[in-house]
Symmetry: C2
Subunit: 515 residues, 2 copies
Amino acid sequence: MDLPAVWLRDNCRCAKCRDPRTGQKLFDITDLPDPITVTDRVEDEFAVHLVFGPDGHRSTFDRAWLHENQPGRGEQDFRVESAKDLWPSIDPPVFTWGGPELPWLESVLCRGFAVLSEVPVEPGAVLRVAESFGYVRETNYGRLFHVRVEAEPNNLAFTGLPISPHTDNPYRDPVPTVQLLHCLENAVEGGETTLVDGFHAAAVLRERDPAAFRALSGTPVTFEFADRDAVLRASRPLIGVDPRGRIREIRFNNRSLRPLGWSAEEITEFYRAYRVFAELLAEPAHQVRMRLNPGDCLVFDNTRVLHARTGFADTGRRHLEGCYADLDSLASRVEVLRREPLVALSALFAGAGAQDYLGEEVTQAEHMLQAAARAEAAGAPDHLVAAALLHDIGHVLPETGQHHDEAGAAWLARWFGQEVTEPVRLHVAAKRYLCAVEPDYFGRLSAASVHTLSLQGGPMTAEQAGEFAAGPYAADAVAVRRWDEAAKDPALASPPLEHFLPVLRRILERAGRPG
Amino acid sequence: MDLPAVWLRDNCRCAKCRDPRTGQKLFDITDLPDPITVTDRVEDEFAVHLVFGPDGHRSTFDRAWLHENQPGRGEQDFRVESAKDLWPSIDPPVFTWGGPELPWLESVLCRGFAVLSEVPVEPGAVLRVAESFGYVRETNYGRLFHVRVEAEPNNLAFTGLPISPHTDNPYRDPVPTVQLLHCLENAVEGGETTLVDGFHAAAVLRERDPAAFRALSGTPVTFEFADRDAVLRASRPLIGVDPRGRIREIRFNNRSLRPLGWSAEEITEFYRAYRVFAELLAEPAHQVRMRLNPGDCLVFDNTRVLHARTGFADTGRRHLEGCYADLDSLASRVEVLRREPLVALSALFAGAGAQDYLGEEVTQAEHMLQAAARAEAAGAPDHLVAAALLHDIGHVLPETGQHHDEAGAAWLARWFGQEVTEPVRLHVAAKRYLCAVEPDYFGRLSAASVHTLSLQGGPMTAEQAGEFAAGPYAADAVAVRRWDEAAKDPALASPPLEHFLPVLRRILERAGRPG
């Protein structure tokens, strides 16, 4: 471990360095000695203990924490292209309002949009959708705006004209990062909604025409909106990149682009690149087309996904209500929802998990932690470490009347996919299977496990074993079962649950990513 | 004029290209032919008329518009360092709440902060200050938050601990760009407020230690805030620059910096640079220190100005109310207020200005426009072109009982500085002065001017002339007077008022900049 001493010291977790109430650091970088060194270190199985010089400050770092935060992993910026799933086209991801929050919020974060159906067709309902994950960003258009034909429009959105792919409010800085459009009425010919993944188009541009990408990401342009009450201007490139060159923000709106002020040469190159990018965005193969019907609410990332609409008769009845919100609150809500199972699991391991594992010499928690440690030692992938860790969670859940394998799998399915839940659901069946197909397996069962085997139906018949082995999760369930049998050793130290939280976190993060 | 044809065509002002109701462009870049050329052009005194090929589209560009929007001027991004007045230290700019809005809003834009005094010491008053120029940005701390000692703080702000210079909410993306802190009570020892101009410090860093500047502007770092209800994370560099390398955003907050994930080498260089920058920010010479008293409201640019407070006893009575808002709305309000005099002047020139200029063969408006054209032709600086343009504005204002020189100057002083208002106020005195000191001047006066001379007190005495000539604005007033006399020619075409609006706009923009 050759971590810079200043990095270690700046991240000390002790109560003098970090306020236990808020988790915030209590010192400034200028409060640390310079240079700072590590003068002593002691390692044990789960932690690294350091002494720093010249001040003698002592810090202890949990190994799991060090693993999760190790340098070289990069910074996980939720706004940049590497955190997203880019698409040339895609079936609109439709979710039901009132159903689980996490999937549609993750869809907005990763795919850039989600369609919610069954949002009440009531004025103002769009604000309740925004407030479910964050805060409405009020603008000069109001907290809520109406997209319908106006007698005196201050924006082309409020006419029946077709509008080509664009991002909203490019003349605002900071730009609103999430937009919501809720359909109350759509009884016109036309008025269809088109979406384009601007990140994907920018990535294609970078591949096909690197000079054009450089021109668009390197040239601030000014957007302007002016009416009686506002004169808004913002100067930003059409393709915003982070300091590492990663795409993180698209602004695209010819309606409000002001005359470019750079040199004639720069202008000429900009216009060439602008046209190439606009042509890419206009390719039907890069567009998702859909019709919003009453009750549908489109939620999208306004820094990434461009939206457009086809024209319709000014006399037709089409009424959307819209509002703006921000991605940071949405990402926060996703993190809180992802954290929820970890909080619940921590409580279960510390509570019911501390009870005896009936008939064994370890507690329920120790048993599960040992099983997970076995899986980890075997080099198992994350989902099998998790399945080993959680295989008996049904034993420590409040009573449901189900067997513990079914109960555990059902509870875990709130957050985890089948790659975790199926080995859990099948780990009892795997015992019955192994007893049928491995002559010496029965002899290795603990006394308590022999006792429960008969309650569970005894060894499988040959026919049952054949069916079981043909299932897609049989091998995983068998692997979990073997670690389960090997995890009842009172002499073995178990790592704490914290050791496995990073594994669970990784799985929960990946779960949000469409396949 | 070698402007790129595509730039001209994309900026066509005709009603087919631009919606007259909204001012928004009605076509996309892909709707234009490629390549596009100028096939014919005709110029007259005030406009350039073009025909484009291959489609034959015709455009007319006002010369003043072309001048104002000419390429090569760069982009006027209100967020970057070049639009700001950087300071190492400064006397806090204090304004009275209820007084003129423009000066304190301009102070926030240009200096990064303003102190408003006499804001009512009432709960929620801070929200009314924010709503006077924009929209409150609600966050997980609420629409309004209380800065006072809390029993269970989720942030060190809510303790009595000292807090070193930082920007707020670096873990939010988009970050709130304006912060307001309104003092309701401050009866503690300590608890003083310190401000640092982060743009100035970054510019000094760039000068002193370019490698450190590169490290901080090139390394995204992650800030995090987590409590029961939120897990907020944002990854941005400490010094944000635009694609041209101009400073545009500072994030600085050691309390919430997450462990850096870059390589050990990058981490080492980052920490070196971070320490140098932190030391710069901590230099007393770079800090403004003040005490907020009940009724004071501090409004500052949270992307630029770092704030700090000294510690105080947890038992002391100190209570601030705070909220967040955004710079774009603030800048919009400034533009609307700056536009106001132009709107008023346009109405005056078109209304009362169209009346006869008593005893002369030109209208009031023609006279003023001719005077401004003379000043412009003489190569006069903006403020004298403006003074010439506006010298008789007192004639077209509603009656106030004052003489037209005094009335005009007083009205203009709402928006313009003395460099414009004093020559206007003195242009009649300048006539009396010139008649006294130049023997042939009287003979060049028009009949009407001779008539008014006696009403105005006749030529100055030698003593009066000596006093006048010693005044700081005498030469400017005399220059305006000479253009005034030469601006009564019925045979001369006057440029339209629009021709001079860019001059006025430039002056109004500069007026916001402290000297």
